[in-house]
Amino acid sequence: MALMPRRVKHRKSQRGRIKGNATRGNRVVFGDYGIQSLEPGWIKAATIEAGRIAAQQYVRGEGKLYIRIFPDKSVSSTPLETRMGKGKGEPDFWAASVKPGTVLYELSGVTEQQAKVCFARLASKMPVKVRFVARRPV
């Protein structure tokens, strides 16, 4: 089942605007290598899951994958062939709002070459431009 919050205060959220760069969650913390967003955008829960599967199939039994983002924003939509008006549509999917610099996934227990190949598979699933990053020296 796709990721989504267990409890929420409000079912629907406003669209909002993604301004500026990430000042938190912009460093590799848990693993040794990561994949970092270079653009702002929404990443759907299904896309996060697709990325997880693509990476997990590659590192199966060797490394550990960390997902650093969570889809906590509900995005609503109006059904097709519906007349305008009648209020805001029903929640359609859940998404994670991502700023440039956000680390999306991390990997540990694999070599740099393996991590690069794994993240290349994962990057093709992402709706934003990404880059490969390594843990920053202390």
């Binding site: 929420v8 760069n21 912009n26």
Partner: protein
């Protein structure tokens, strides 16, 4: 061994002047500590990059200012590509300082040959040592770790003159038995999360 940095004093302050310095291929820095006045400096970007690459901590300043210092803080841009600013703390190279040093896992854990995954819980540990002899990294031999065993901070090999500050019982690395991937569950009865307070309101409404 302290790295040598050739520094120049900065005459102009402020964001515009600092941006000009960065554009000219230099990195702004500040030197402080030991009760002396602060010095605003700039350092060549190539020297800063080399310092970061070598995990350098203790530095010897030459040029407009001659002193010994320790890298106290590094400010990065939002994407972590460029160093924006360096904080240098005046130290005597024989003075004892507390620093965080990276841990390097050495060897192949025995448990990984049985299908385990080596997980690094802690990537750096706090140590106390002379400023002039801060190690680049500290080695931890994990070759004897079996499945579900762990290594603690106390197991890290410390060179002479280095004292551990981190709790020696802190787990640094462990070999985890891989968990089987749980097949995706069928969609739960409700595809929507619970709304906080909604149920209570409804019950109150019915009661009235």
């Amino acid at each position: 061994m302290a790295e040598v940095l050739h520094v120049e004093k900065r005459e102009q302050m402020g964001s515009a002047a600092t941006t000009r310095i960065r554009r000219s291929g230099r990195v702004p820095a500040v030197l402080y500590g030991h009760g002396k006045d602060n010095e605003h400096l700039s350092i060549s970007r190539s020297e800063v990059d080399a310092l970061i690459r070598h995990h350098g901590r203790a530095v010897e300043l030459q040029g407009s200012v001659t002193d010994t210092a320790m890298v106290n803080d590094v400010q990065w841009d939002a994407l972590g590509i460029e160093v924006l600013h360096l904080d240098l703390l005046r130290v005597n190279l024989k003075e004892e300082v507390e620093v965080a040093v990276a841990i390097r896992l050495v060897g192949e854990a025995a448990g990984t040959r049985e299908g385990g995954i080596l997980i690094e819980n802690l990537h750096e540990i706090e140590i106390r040592c002379a400023a002039g002899s801060i190690p680049e990294s500290l080695d931890l031999n994990v070759s004897e770790l079996q499945l579900d065993q762990h290594a603690v901070a106390g197991d890290v090999e410390l060179p002479s003159g280095v004292e551990l500050i981190t709790d020696p019982e802190t787990v640094v690395a462990r070999v985890e038995t891989p968990r089987e991937e749980v097949p995706a569950e069928e969609a739960a009865a409700s595809d929507e999360p619970e709304v906080i307070g909604k149920k209570e309101e409804q019950e109150e409404g019915e009661g009235e």
